[in-house]
C-alpha cells in the first residue's frame, strides 16, 4: 500500500510540476505563432489586451465550474516547492487561456471585433449558467473548435487568393453576398496546424488540472476522496506526498457531476 501511495504521489507531482506546466507553456508559445506569406517568415504575436481580458474571464469560468481549484495548487499546508509549482501552473494557465483566444481570433478589423463580442457574451453566459466541470469542458471544446473552424477553415477558404473547392462551395451557398471591405489575412497552412495542436494541448491541460471530480472518476484515487462523515481527512496517500491538498467538502459521496453544490451556496 505504501508503494502504491508513493507511486501515486510521484505521479501527481509529475503531472503538476512537469506535464501541466509544459502543456500550458506550449499553448502560450503556440497561441501566438504565425507563419507569414510564402517565404515562411515567423511571427510571435503577443496576446492583445482583449485576449488578456478574455483569458481572465475564462479563468473565472473555470474556477466557477471547479475545473480550476486553486486550493489544490496552492495552500498553506503544502510544502513551498509544491506551492511554487502550483503558482507556475496558475500563471501558465492564465497565459495559455489568453493565447487560446489570441490564436482563434482574427488579427484585426471588424471580424476581430465580432469574434471578441461573441466570446464575451459566451463567457458571461457561462459564468451566469454555472455549469459543472464536465459541461464546461464540453462547452469549451465546442466554442474553441467552432472558432478554429471559422477562422482557419471557413474564413481562410473565403479569403484564399487562389480559390479552391471550399471557396467555390461557400460562395455558391452565400449567393449574392460579397466580402466587401471585411479585411482578413489568410493564415499560412502551418499556422492552422500549430493552432489545432495548441487547442488540443489546452483542452488536455484543462482535463488534467487537479480537481475533486477528476479524482473521484479515477478508481486508483478513490482512497483519497471517498470518506464518510467520521473518516479522517488525512489518508495514507497524503503521507506519501505532503503536497496533496485536503479533499474538499463538495467532493464527498453523492455529489454527482451535474448536482455539484456551488461554493457560494455553502
Amino acid at each position: 500500500m505504501d508503494a502504491h501511495a508513493h507511486r501515486r504521489g510521484v505521479a501527481l507531482a509529475t503531472r503538476e510540476a512537469i506535464v501541466l506546466p509544459l502543456l500550458l507553456l506550449t499553448v502560450a508559445l503556440g497561441g501566438g505563432f504565425r507563419m507569414m506569406g510564402t517565404a515562411g517568415q515567423l511571427v510571435f504575436l503577443p496576446p492583445s489586451l482583449m485576449s488578456l481580458v478574455l483569458g481572465l474571464l475564462l479563468m473565472a469560468a473555470l474556477f466557477r465550474a471547479r475545473v480550476l481549484q486553486p486550493e489544490r495548487l496552492m495552500q498553506a499546508s503544502r510544502p513551498p516547492l509544491a506551492n511554487l509549482s502550483g503558482a507556475i501552473v496558475l500563471f501558465a494557465l492564465f497565459a495559455a487561456s489568453a493565447q487560446v483566444f489570441n490564436t482563434t481570433t482574427p488579427e484585426a478589423g471588424l471580424l476581430q471585433l465580432t469574434f471578441n463580442v461573441f466570446y464575451v457574451l459566451l463567457l458571461a453566459n457561462t459564468l451566469a449558467a454555472r455549469p459543472d466541470r464536465a459541461r464546461l469542458l464540453s462547452s469549451l471544446m465546442i466554442v474553441l473548435g467552432s472558432a478554429f473552424v471559422m477562422k482557419y477553415v471557413v474564413l481562410a477558404a473565403l479569403y484564399d487568393q487562389h480559390g479552391g473547392i471550399t471557396r467555390r462551395v461557400l460562395m455558391a451557398l452565400l449567393e449574392g453576398v460579397t466580402l466587401g471591405g471585411l479585411a482578413f489575412d489568410t493564415p499560412a497552412p502551418a499556422t492552422g496546424y500549430v493552432a489545432f495542436f495548441t487547442l488540443l494541448c489546452y483542452l488536455a491541460a484543462l482535463i488534467l488540472l487537479p480537481s475533486a471530480d477528476a479524482a473521484r472518476l479515477d478508481p486508483a484515487s478513490a482512497a483519497l476522496t471517498r470518506r464518510g462523515p467520521d473518516t479522517p481527512l488525512v489518508t495514507e496517500a497524503r503521507h506519501a506526498d505532503a503536497s496533496l491538498p485536503l479533499p474538499l467538502p463538495e467532493a464527498g459521496a453523492g455529489a454527482g457531476a451535474g448536482t455539484r453544490r456551488d461554493p457560494d451556496d455553502r
Binding site: H6, T14, A17, L22, L42, L81, S85, I88
Partner: protein
C-alpha cells in the same frame, strides 16, 4: 519514507527547472521575434555560447564589401551569420547598406533604414552594447559612429543644401 519524499521533491525540482527554462525560451522568442528557424536555432546556440559563424563566407563577404559589391557582400554575410547573432557581421551588413545608399547629392532613405536596422541588430548582440572593428579600410570603426552617420543621412536639415557637401568623403 524520507527517500520517497525526496523522489517527489526531485520531480518537483526538475519540473521547476524545466518550466522556468521553457518559460525563458518563450519570453525570448516573443521579445526577440526571430524571423526564421535558423534565427531561432542560432539564438538558442548563442544563448548557450556555442554559436559559430561560417568564417569562409564572412571572409568572402568582406572581400566583396571592399570591392564595393554590396549586394554580393550581404549575400555572403547572410550565409556566414544566418541567425544574425554575430555583431561584427551585422556591423558590416549595416556598413554595406550605408555605402550603397550614400550619395554626394542625396542618400537613399530605404537603404539607410535597413542600415539602421542592421546596426541595431549588431548592438543588440554585441557584448557591452558596442561593436568595434579593427579594419583600416573603414572610416567608422564603432557602432556608435556608424549609427550617427546613418542617422545624419536620414535627417533633413539646412546643411543638406550646402553645395560644398558634394566634396565630402565617403564614410
Amino acid at each position: 519514507m524520507s527517500g520517497r519524499f525526496v523522489s517527489a521533491t526531485l520531480v518537483r525540482g526538475l519540473g521547476l527547472v524545466l518550466s522556468l527554462a521553457y518559460a525563458g525560451f518563450i519570453i525570448w522568442l516573443y521579445t526577440m521575434q526571430p524571423r526564421t528557424m535558423a534565427e531561432v536555432a542560432g539564438g538558442v546556440a548563442a544563448g548557450v555560447g556555442v554559436y559559430r559563424i561560417d568564417q569562409a563566407s564572412f571572409d568572402e563577404g568582406l572581400r566583396f564589401f571592399r570591392a564595393d559589391k554590396f549586394v554580393e557582400a550581404r549575400n555572403a554575410f547572410e550565409r556566414a551569420d544566418p541567425a544574425k547573432q554575430h555583431a561584427p557581421t551585422q556591423f558590416y551588413v549595416a556598413y554595406s547598406y550605408l555605402r550603397q545608399g550614400w550619395g554626394r547629392v542625396y542618400s537613399d532613405d530605404a537603404l539607410m533604414k535597413q542600415a539602421l536596422a542592421a546596426v541595431e541588430r549588431a548592438v543588440a548582440v554585441a557584448p557591452g552594447g558596442v561593436v568595434r572593428v579593427d579594419d583600416a579600410r573603414v572610416t567608422l570603426k564603432t557602432s556608435d559612429e556608424l549609427r550617427a552617420e546613418i542617422e545624419r543621412n536620414l535627417t533633413r536639415e539646412v546643411s543638406d543644401f550646402n553645395p560644398l557637401k558634394v566634396f565630402r568623403e565617403r564614410p
